[in-house]
């Protein structure tokens, strides 16, 4: 029987349109676009499938900048220093090779954007200007005011369009198709009509971003439902480092309807300071040992640094995001928070109104409209917000391929570059570098791959799973299940975790899995958000279960993962990643997997003191 019921009608599976491409890229943020451009430049027939309109993906919200050791604003910069910063920020859990490729290739990826039309802010001599950011030794973030993400996505979008990439907008990827163990395609659904479409292709590149929408307070939009994680997991790939979910320290906390909306780290990069209700700069009490030698311990020194004194050390507000988020949480817990439960972020007393409007125009606008607050006059109230997944689909560093032949992942969707904590600015560089790598990985793979066959049974199963949600007579409301999940993840799998909280969290997710079995969406199939939400729930649940299980296994505190019952980094745990995959019986397997030993040279660079590394770079340049 090749027919299935769909809204009271019988539909023949052979009537569903099948489209052929060499490669399908799922997700049209920076990573997906860069991957698609690479595939298309190298002659592949490339389809780009995205849930939203082209150019609206999360990349558009990135504000601060893209990290690359161009050395325009401080000529001491070098890929080795960027690499060292990234490893230290990631608490040495990063995939060494990926962090190396990322630091080495980022400058070329940024220059290439300029070739394609990007217009970054300039230095006095006409080069790309770079700004300071948390965890970066030198001013390293190429930027355009505080709308760098928009500049990048628009540049890639225009480039892609002119290169002949076929774009399928407002089209949701449902699940992957396989021919034996290899990728054979994907089934997707047009959001407008609810019609299905089958893609037959040799390779799929997942670039779907993270899964922040599982939390209540998040900077992520509706799109961030872990689709790539869910689809990769179902297709037999592994997820890794899922316990490392980054809480950005500065999200808006008021009014309630915008709680979680991002406030760029650029505010602190431009000199903004964090104070508590007693007007204390509390970050001075929160400097971790590892960063103490490179952090100012007096306000006077921080001021000198801000004025450009290269001998001064950086202010503690620019410590890594995990450190700052925990510090804000501690102040609020201790009763020294702002009226709406955050900390004060003050740029008004630090820079002139004119400077603020020039350097942080969208922050000015955002607070003016959404909170009726003038940031050139008053301090902002900010608090932690779930922002980014360091973990994701486990891939090979050079090709970005998963253990499923023909399945690739890049950008936030993939694990590895950032380890236990990501530095600001490293996601835009990651998506450019790894997007290109995934594209070339797919090109190489496709050269030696025959056109796969589609399996109708797989197609039917995927379509039934989606249509059952509409066909049920009655069932659970998808919005309510989602709300319950968000409450659960917020309270049990938050910034601070314990075995008890996480066990409860896992039980809670398992209960929601049961509710999901009978989820029911009302209405027709055309542009039906309730139905779309219900479809996304499966991926959100896989994502949430993976995060909770991984977090429970990792019995230490490292980077973004904080266990109150296992404080501090434990050397033993530096040897492992937590890897998750689907068992034959459908349950989730979570296990510790030994990490590969780092190359000697990379290990040496990462462990040098900053003085030693700076001397080495000087010497290298002298020799040149």
């Amino acid at each position: 029987m090749d027919r299935f019921k769909y809204l009271g009608q019988l539909v023949n599976i052979n009537e569903i349109k099948t489209v052929e491409h060499d490669v399908i890229v799922l997700g049209a943020g920076g990573a997906g676009l860069r991957a698609a451009i690479e595939c298309s430049m190298q002659g592949l027939s490339t389809g780009l499938v995205c849930k939203s309109l082209l150019g609206k993906a999360h990349t558009v919200m990135a504000e601060g900048g893209v990290a690359a050791s161009l050395g325009n604003s401080d000529d001491r910069d070098h890929w080795k220093v960027h690499f060292r910063d990234t490893m230290r920020g990631g608490k040495f859990l990063n995939n060494w090779r990926m962090a190396e490729l990322h630091a080495k290739q980022a400058p070329d990826r940024v220059r290439e954007l300029e070739e394609w039309g990007a217009v970054f802010d300039r230095t006095k001599t006409g080069l790309i200007n770079q700004r300071n950011f948390g965890g970066h030794r030198y001013p390293r973030l190429a930027h355009v005011g505080d709308r760098t993400g928009l500049e990048i996505i628009r540049t890639l979008q225009d480039r892609g369009v002119h290169q002949g990439i076929e774009v399928y907008m407002e089209c949701t990827g449902l699940d992957l198709l396989k021919d034996g163990d290899k990728i054979a395609g994907m089934v997707a659904m047009w959001r407008e009509t609810g019609e299905f479409i089958i893609f037959r292709c040799k390779a799929v590149i997942l670039a779907t971003g993270g899964g922040g929408k599982a939390w209540k307070i998040t900077s992520n939009s509706w799109e961030y439902t872990g689709d790539g994680y869910g689809m990769a997991y179902e297709a037999g790939a592994e997820l890794m480092d899922m316990e490392f979910t980054q809480f950005h320290p500065t999200g808006m906390v008021w009014p309630p309807s915008v709680r979680g909306t991002l406030v760029t780290e650029g505010v602190r990069g431009e000199g903004g300071i964090l104070v508590n209700s007693e007007n204390e700069r509390f970050m001075y009490d929160n400097i971790p040992e590892r960063f103490a030698p490179e952090t100012a311990d007096t306000e006077a020194e921080a001021e000198r640094w801000l004025d450009g004194d290269k001998g001064a050390r950086r202010p503690p507000e620019l410590l890594t995001r995990d450190v700052v988020a925990r510090a804000i949480r501690r102040e609020v817990k201790a009763g020294r928070g702002s009226p709406h439960g955050g900390a004060f972020l003050d740029i008004a007393s630090r820079r002139s109104a004119e400077d603020i409007k020039k350097k942080l125009p969208s922050m000015y606008h955002q607070f003016k409209v959404l909170a009726e607050l003038d940031i050139t006059k008053e301090a902002m109230e900010v608090g932690p917000t779930l922002h980014y997944f360091m973990g994701g689909v486990r891939v090979d560093a050079d090709s970005q391929m998963t253990r499923v032949p023909g399945l690739f992942a890049c950008g936030e969707c993939a694990a590895g570059v950032h380890g236990a904590n990501r530095l600001g600015g490293n996601s835009l560089s990651d998506l450019l570098v790894c997007g290109k790598l995934a594209g070339s990985g797919a090109v190489d793979y496709i050269k030696s791959t025959a056109t796969p066959n589609l399996n109708n049974e797989q197609v039917k199963y995927i379509i039934r799973s989606a249509t059952n949600i509409l066909n049920r007579e009655s069932g659970e409301n998808p919005y309510l299940i989602h709300e319950k999940l968000q409450d659960l993840m917020q309270s049990n799998v938050g910034i601070v975790r314990t075995d008890e909280l996480l066990s409860e969290g896992i039980d809670g997710v398992m209960d929601l899995w049961k509710s999901f079995q009978s989820v029911k969406a009302d209405g027709a199939s055309q542009f039906n958000p309730g139905w779309h939400q219900a479809i996304a729930l499966r991926n959100l649940l896989i994502t949430s279960e993976a995060v909770a299980r991984a977090a429970r296994i990792r019995e230490e505190s490292r980077g973004a993962h904080t266990r109150v019952d296992f404080e501090g980094e434990r050397d033993e745990w530096l040897q492992y990643n937590v890897v998750l995959s689907k068992n034959a019986d459908g349950t989730m397997n979570a296990e510790r997997v030994h990490r590969e030993a780092p190359g000697k040279e990379l290990e040496r660079i990462a462990n040098l003191s900053i003085e030693e590394l700076e001397a080495e770079v000087r010497q290298e340049r002298g020799v040149e």
Partner: protein
Amino acid sequence: MALRDFKIFRGDKNGGTMADYSTEVDKGMVVLDVIHRIQAEKAGDLAVRWNCKAGKCGSCSVEINGKPKLACMTRMNEYGEDETISIRPIKTFPIMKDLVADVSWNYEQNKKIIPLQPDPTKKDKKGNYIMMQEDVDRVQEFRKCIECYLCQNVCHVLRDHDKKDQFIGPRFMIRLASLEMHPLDTADRIPATKNDYGSGLCNITRCCTDVCPEHIQITDNAIIPMKERVVDRYYDPIARLFKKLFSKNNQ
């Protein structure tokens, strides 16, 4: 906090009605929050397009009490407490469903525009392009565009006269201007601006500039200079004579 009344368009390309809803509105809420609340409580299948909820992505363009706006950046306290608020999809483009319009025409226009052709001689020895900040300020203003298409929605040429086959609209006039004024660019888009992009159809009513949520000076800084470039090339009698005498390639 307070129960408020709303009228929201429900329907598709075949027509529809303004449906009545009332819901609680809390302090600080924007119109998009209200739509989401109605969606969660009363109308699970109410279609609305949105993403960033912070005025950065330009997805949630609608017409609120007749004014084209971003739903995420329109606060409820802009309206009187007893005022019924009506929300419709943007008018110039075909309706898909409820508040969602089919804006795909805009993406087709973008494909027509000749991309940047950078001048390789403007690189330094290390391969970096050199551009001064004062030379890119104007281009950066245009590149702030979030593609909400509110300008396209209010453009008379597109909205009232439906000349979508002749004019690319204000959004793409600023895209053109951003390329024409780009310090590295070497391409010539003036003939296409006149013949293919339809710059002559704009009669400078400035409606596009008025609705731009990014406050881009679309008319003064982009459209008028582009029109002037066309005029200089095609209609300036002295320039035409000059070209005839000294150039072999120009017509």
